[in-house]
Symmetry: C2
DNA sequence: ATGAAAGCGCTAACAT
DNA sequence: ATGTTAGCGCTTTCAT
């Protein structure tokens, strides 16, 4: 055990095993035909020297880094955090490292983040962008034919060729909205994150509108809430002041749903007795609420695995792999109930 | 715009700008004295060529990667996810990339994860290990004098020299337990994650015991719950069958608290009317519950910033920087209330 | 089956 | 202020 153990290079190993560096490299990579005896002596020498392969040298030479980049809007959102975790597990199982970047939903950050990753020569990227149809970053990636797979984004139109993995947001939103309507609600309102930050939010709003239109109900404008910034409570107070007042809210994410429920309750409305709330995502915390949150469950783990698998194929040179729409499920909790028909007009119970 | 834009190397730039590669390298690094004119021509050439620095080459030569590794038990836990996000923000602001690894609380994975990171020659590591006092990984890092900073871990005894950032878990646990006792509870029970997986859990259990002892109450064994695996509900059913039955639970994490509340409620106990619950961590979701979760708030963001700052100093060669205990705060929600004194014996309300 | 040698893209002495 | 040159640690023809 010398002081600078890991400074041992492939060359040191070669000397100690009295073979050439080429041979050492061969046994290190398992590849090539090397005599069992020499291989063993190399392994022994490596162990004795405390040798640790320096990936940098390998990467420089092979122009492959066995590293993928992951660019996500935030890790504060459990969906993204869980997804990243699943990606990391899949990647490391395949011998890949993962380098991350977050954008705070800001396309400007997408640029800086991607450049950093690209300078590091990641072999490919898994990412969620603000808008998959119109993205400088994606255009760059396309131009440079750098492998990437989108998660959660649903590119459409001219961008439809972009590889992506996620659920059918519009359909899922339509279905959960139908569930709300089936419970007897006639005055629904959607609460959404800022459309500019999320094409998912837009798709979900479309699905909501689909269901509302199909039931021949009146469609109101989604309440756009900048989650981290705005006073959700004030916005909800106003929303509940409308006549007829909404009896149910469909929220574009579970976090939004939780905040909405909290605000509604603090305004004196009982959930689901006075007003129903449904979410979207299926974060596990939602199950632990009482009553449990009614929501759409996205198969996060599967999305991650599929995305990594796709990316791996792309990296390995396969083409035309297409995208994957995975199955969502409805998780019927207890936050959506029948509207209280006896209520003339839900009196404004709370105050600001 | 040729096909292979980014294949342009520093050498191509040098040729186009009719200077030497050394000069290009100099303007790229901002360092050194280069005439404004030549610098400009180099920048122009680089732009025209769509040149993108290849970090691999730089890293190999400089034996620095401007990359840190982050090893965390999981990202499923919001505390870790939020911390990682804050680390990433701090790191990228300082020009560092971050490569991640998760261990699922399994020390065996710590080994594999760290080797991967170390092969990638990360400049330093930020990590949370199962046991900061007894860790093969930490011993290795010490032996190789690889810079690292622990987060959340609280090394003690012989391991006290290990740089760490976090709160005083024992004190914080003691304080929130005192809060519970001050509400009038006499029969408290702690619910903890597996001690083997978390030295924090052990510290918190000690703090709990401190408060219980100080109030001269009877100390019961913490209920160890393997969160992801065990049937929490069954364990709680049993716990509530004890006589005298506990009237309050202190949970070693907010997630555990949420699961506990869910199980208790499904067993027919009202929280906080029949039984009080407090958590630890201060995840933001806890604030959105109704009633809001009473808990200890760890300054996650600050922990991340401090840890990165410390690591950066270590990487830059400074020594003897010590550790940082950051301030926690109690967040008094509504999940801890006075025990119902009229209750003779809390009758078993639910069934399995 | 193994070795010799070239070179991936860059930085850092050392020259000039 | 700028150029020359020697590698950083590894993989990979091309020989043998």
């Amino acid at each position: 055990m010398t002081t600078k153990l890991h400074r041992a290079t492939i060359r040191d190993v070669a000397e100690r095993a009295t073979v050439s560096v080429a041979t050492v490299s061969r046994v290190l990579n398992g590849s090539e035909r090397v005599t069992g005896a020499t291989a063993e002596s190399v392994r022994l020498a490596a162990e004795q020297l405390g040798f640790r392969l320096n990936s940098i040298g390998r990467n420089l030479r092979s122009t492959k880094t066995q590293t993928i980049g992951v660019i996500l809007p935030t890790l504060t959102h459990p969906v993204f955090a869980d997804c990243l975790q699943a990606i990391e597990i899949a990647a490391s199982a395949a011998g890949y490292s993962v380098t991350i970047a977050t954008t705070s939903y800001d396309p400007a950050n997408e640029e800086a983040a991607s450049e950093r990753l690209l300078r590091n020569r990641v072999d490919g990227l898994i990412l969620t962008v603000a808008n998959a149809n119109k993205s400088k970053l994606l255009e760059k990636l396309d131009r440079e034919s750098k492998p990437y797979v989108l998660v959660y984004n649903e590119p459409t139109g001219a961008a439809k060729h972009r590889p992506s993995v996620g659920v059918d947001n519009r359909l899922a939103a339509k279905q959960i909205t139908e569930h709300i309507i089936a419970a007897g609600h006639r005055n629904l309102r959607m609460i959404s994150g800022p459309f500019a930050q999320s094409d998912r939010a837009r798709s979900r709003a479309r699905g909501f509108a689909d269901a509302v239109a199909h039931a021949k109900l009146e469609l109101t404008e989604p309440l756009q809430v900048d989650f981290m910034r705005t006073d959700v409570r004030a916005q909800l107070f106003e929303a509940m002041s409308a006549r007829p007042a909404p009896t149910a809210f469909f929220c574009s994410s579970d976090q939004l749903a939780m905040r909405a429920m909290h605000s509604l309750r603090s305004l004196g409305f009982r959930v689901p007795d006075d007003v129903s709330v449904a979410g979207f995502d299926g974060i596990s915390l939602g199950e632990w609420l009482t009553p449990a949150l009614t929501t759409v469950v996205q198969p996060t783990h599967e999305i991650a695995d599929t995305a990594f698998g796709l990316l791996k194929s792309l990296i390995d040179g396969e083409r035309h792999l297409g995208s994957a729409r995975l199955h969502h499920t409805l998780r019927i909790g207890g936050t959506v109930a029948q509207p209280t028909t006896t209520l003339i007009h839900p009196t404004q119970k709370g105050t600001l």
